[in-house]
Symmetry: C2
Subunit: 174 residues, 2 copies
């Protein structure tokens, strides 16, 4: 289910890209600089909007890289505009497009670490469920929350995106 | 991985319960009514705090019920206090405690629907990844965001909870 979950993350990054486009439209309608969004935050000691977008992208990018061993593209965290953030999102979507289910075959038993853990490790299975998945959704939802809090006209359907649904079963003729 | 993911949701509901306890402490320290939190929201047309907590609980409860066929406890959505919300959270944690991996064996191919879909259905696999998982994290993170926005002293570690980490490998003696 790793591959399928990263496909879902890719879809949701695509939804986030649309929120950023809607934010630009809102700024234009209300005559303010769209790039003001990059500094907005919900609490003084929480990451600002730009870093929330960057971290949502990085969580999907680094988790897929760590679980598969495939090298991830580097990003310098220098975005200054909504358009540059959108380019970052698209870059990660393209990276995720390069994976197949086969790439994740050894993911559960991979050994994962990162510099801030000071040598401690996690199994791929634990890292994915306890760290990557909740962090991805945390930053994705915080991006959404900052936009909603600042009057951008997005709603729950823009968060979830299209669902794979089957039509109702036909009612038998009487 | 369904069972493991619901275990992770159960853990995160336990984290949410702690945030609610911290919110009560913050209210006491700042001398305001802790139950004011229930009406707070990030945007005028977004669910208030109480409903965000209820919906995070319901998403975990109803998704596990729909994917396994096990009847879920009913909740009347009548909570008026932080303590009542905490009882709701604990009730869903207890419900999730009753599942085993075996309960989810047919989950991927289950047929899932809900009244608002007007007869449309989703496979269990699609419902879980496209609907249940993103909705659970959406409401969980929004609960966290409303508390952070209102000065409750919680941080990222309170969101993630404890991680299953292995200690650094021993350095060979020289």
């Amino acid at each position: 289910m790793y591959y399928e979950t990263f496909c879902q993350m890719k879809k949701l990054l695509g939804q986030m890209d649309r929120w950023l486009a809607t934010a630009a439209t809102t700024a234009k309608e209300k005559s303010f600089d769209p790039n003001l969004f990059l500094g907005f935050r919900l609490a003084p000691d929480q990451f600002a909007f730009a870093r929330q977008v960057q971290t949502a992208c990085d969580t999907a990018k680094l988790a897929s890289s760590r679980l598969t061993g495939k090298e991830a593209p580097k990003h310098a965290d220098t975005e200054q505009t909504l358009d540059e953030l959108r380019a970052r999102v698209q870059s990660v979507i393209s990276y995720l497009d390069g994976f197949t289910a086969k790439d994740f075959e050894g993911a559960a038993t991979a050994t994962v670490t990162q510099p801030r853990w000071e040598g401690k490790t996690m199994t791929g299975a634990d890292y994915f469920l306890e760290h990557a998945l909740p962090n991805f959704f945390f930053h994705l939802t915080t991006v959404y929350a900052i936009l909603r809090h600042n009057g951008v006209a997005i709603g729950k359907r823009d968060y979830l995106g299209a669902l794979t649904q089957q039509p109702p079963a036909a009612t038998p003729a009487k």
